[in-house]
């Protein structure tokens, strides 16, 4: 953190900051941590709060040529009572589908169906045009490798360090050697704007909620999956951290063109990142369409739903 390999950027920053005193010669130039820089950028963005132009954020998807990456086809599932009945939706390559709905409507259940942690009572789930409903464990593992999941509470392994957590999928799924694993872990940590040297050896219990979420994202994307699933990535976080995480999801979909499914309560960030929004109510998807279509709709439930946020 104190050593600055790209001193140029650091000294530029310094020159622009009028309140800083003169820098003693030979002292290494300190630059604000990545964390702070990102936060400052987001604070700026929030301050201006310019309206999002339609289709600006999600990578533009050509509906005609893009293939179905995710498809739920007439899926029904009951635990003690029915949770989902006849739910269908698809996600094209590069799209971000936001699943919104009140708690307990089965949003997390949908993600678990996609991961084949649950199997539907009726209907089928397709990942990359492959039906995953009837797969055995080894084949299910292969499909899961295509997906990165960010769990609601991050679900970091609390007996392992941050490094071990992110290295976990690499050790399980790949034949990378130790150096390559470390390089990959550093890369992913930098991507989520955490300082590798500072957090790698920490335990999840040492981290703040927002940092844990970010480590969760880093672990989810460690394998370079083509699909990312997020379970309420911003719930329980302060507005600033919420913006950081939203920013991160958008960055992922833009820079790496991953297909994503985001479960969220936060309709504001939903509008910022969604290609399409699916609203879940009464065991069914009551709305599936673009954010613009959603705000244009005069369906009473949708209006109430939007008004509620």
């Amino acid at each position: 953190m104190t050593d600055n390999p790209e001193g140029r950027r650091g000294s530029d920053d310094r020159r622009q900051a009028p309140t800083d005193g003169p820098v003693a010669p030979n002292t290494p130039i300190r630059r604000p941590s990545d964390d702070l820089r990102v936060r400052a950028a987001i604070r700026n963005e929030l301050a201006t709060d310019r309206p999002i132009e339609p289709g600006e954020l999600p990578a533009l998807v050509n509906e005609r040529t893009a293939e179905n990456v995710i498809a739920l086809d007439h899926v029904s599932l009951a635990f003690d009572e029915p949770i989902l009945s006849d739910v269908s939706f698809t996600a094209l390559a590069g799209e971000t589908i936001v699943v919104a709905g009140e708690s307990g409507t089965g949003k997390s259940t949908i993600l678990k169906l996609l991961l084949r942690l649950l199997v539907p009572d009726k209907g089928t789930v397709f990942i990359d045009d492959e039906e995953i409903t009837e797969l055995n464990f080894p084949d299910a593992l292969k499909v899961r490798q295509k997906m990165g999941m960010v769990f609601q509470g991050a679900a970091l392994f609390d007996s392992m360090t941050v490094f071990e957590n992110i290295a976990y999928p690499l050790r399980e799924h790949t034949t990378l050697d130790e150096d390559e694993i470390e390089a990959r872990v550093r890369e992913k940590l930098s991507f989520v704007d955490l300082d590798p040297d500072r957090v790698m050896e920490q335990l999840p219990s040492d981290l703040s909620g927002g940092m844990r979420k970010r480590v969760g994202v880093a672990r989810g994307m460690a394998n370079n999956p083509k699909i990312m699933l997020y379970d309420e990535p911003t719930s329980g976080l302060d507005p600033l951290t919420t913006a950081t995480i939203t920013h991160l999801i958008i960055k992922l979909q833009r820079e790496l063109a991953v297909t994503s499914v985001v479960v969220t309560h936060d309709i504001r960030s939903a509008f910022r990142m969604a290609s399409k929004i699916a609203v879940l109510a009464e065991k069914r998807i009551v709305f599936f369409g673009t954010p613009e279509e959603m705000s244009a709709s005069d369906d009473k439930y949708l209006r109430d739903f939007l008004g509620g946020f």
């Binding site: 599932l77 009951a78 635990f79 003690d80 009572e81 029915p82 678990k112 991961l115 942690l117 649950l118 199997v119 539907p120 009572d121 009837e134 055995n136 464990f137 299910a140 593992l141 899961r144 490798q145 997906m147 999941m149 769990f151 609601q152 509470g153 679900a155 970091l156 392994f157 609390d158 976990y168 999928p169 399980e172 799924h173 672990r219």
Partner: protein, 295 residues
């Protein structure tokens, strides 16, 4: 039912059972009774499937050796103090009580035999088992339970690991190895405690005490020429107890529902179930072994 599926005990390749009665249909009393019985049988079946899988995974790759060693430490090494302590005091009290009884027959010189027989055959295994059930069984349930409710189990699955292979197999193996080891230590601690009491209060010379101990061990004969039959009894039991404790803990831990409160429930259930099961199974093993060795 999907419920069972998520708990991760069903063979992965089986399609979901579609004939389960959904409880929201409010079935009639008899059906409900049937349903309850079915569920009980089912959970017993799940328990054995879990055990089978856990053992099966010990013989195939990948094998999580670091986890096994860590579990052997936390199940075995860290239980050492309580096992030493309980064994020691049990042996002392055993010597004290039997000295009173034996005195009336003028047979106090047999104290060593009595302490050795009770410790090795019965008290050693059962005491070590109960202590481990309390300390380790509850720990396993709490650990796996909190991993379940914080979705770490789902995360393992997602990241390419069978949670049974990674979590249950090392714990079961560690218990199978360590509970017998702890039992032997418990036996020794007890017999040693007995020797202190018999020389300090009863006035039996230590050498005589230990001679009677070895007489007792040799009394029932040997298996394969060198292994005293008493040891067989005393080691089959803790082996089975180890399996019971670890599997009950893992089973309740993995099935935890309902957040942090659920973890507490799983922990309590584990200790109660494992302890009762242990005592019941102890009775039946004893009966079987007595029949086998009598013939």
């Amino acid at each position: 039912m999907a419920y069972i599926w998520l708990r991760g005990h069903r063979p992965e390749c089986q399609p979901p059972a579609s004939n389960a009665i959904a409880s929201h249909q409010r079935p009639h009393l008899i059906e409900r009774f049937n349903e309850g019985a079915k569920r009980r049988v089912h959970s017993l079946q799940e328990f054995f499937v879990l055990g089978g899988k856990a053992i099966g995974f010990a013989f195939s790759r990948p094998f999580y050796r670091a986890d096994l060693i860590q579990q052997m430490d936390s199940i075995g090494v860290q239980s050492l103090p309580i096992v030493l302590l309980t064994g020691f005091f049990t042996g002392m009290v055993l010597a004290l009580q039997s000295s009173v009884q034996l005195k009336t027959f003028g047979a106090t010189m047999y104290i060593g035999r009595l302490v050795a027989a009770s410790m090795i055959r019965e008290l050693g295994p059962v005491l070590a088992g109960l202590m481990v059930a309390g300390r380790v069984g509850s720990g396993i349930a709490a650990q796996l339970g909190s991993m379940r409710v914080t979705e770490q189990i789902d995360a393992l699955n997602t990241l390419g690991t069978d949670p049974i292979r990674k979590l249950v197999t090392p714990r079961v193996l560690a218990a199978l190895i360590m509970v017998p080891a702890l039992t032997v230590i418990n036996d020794f601690a007890g017999i040693f405690g007995g020797s202190i009491i018999s020389s300090a209060y009863v006035g039996i010379p230590t050498s005589l005490y230990w001679r009677t101990v070895f007489e007792q061990i040799a009394a029932d004969g040997f298996i394969f020429r060198y292994i005293p039959t008493d040891f067989i009894q005393g080691l089959i039991k803790p082996f089975v107890f180890g399996a019971i404790i670890s599997l009950v803990g893992c089973n309740f831990g993995l099935k935890t529902t309902g957040g942090t409160e659920g973890v507490g429930v799983a922990t309590t259930r584990t200790v109660v179930t494992a302890s009762i099961l242990l005592l019941v199974v102890d009775y039946f093993i004893t009966q079987i072994l007595l029949a086998v060795f009598a013939s």
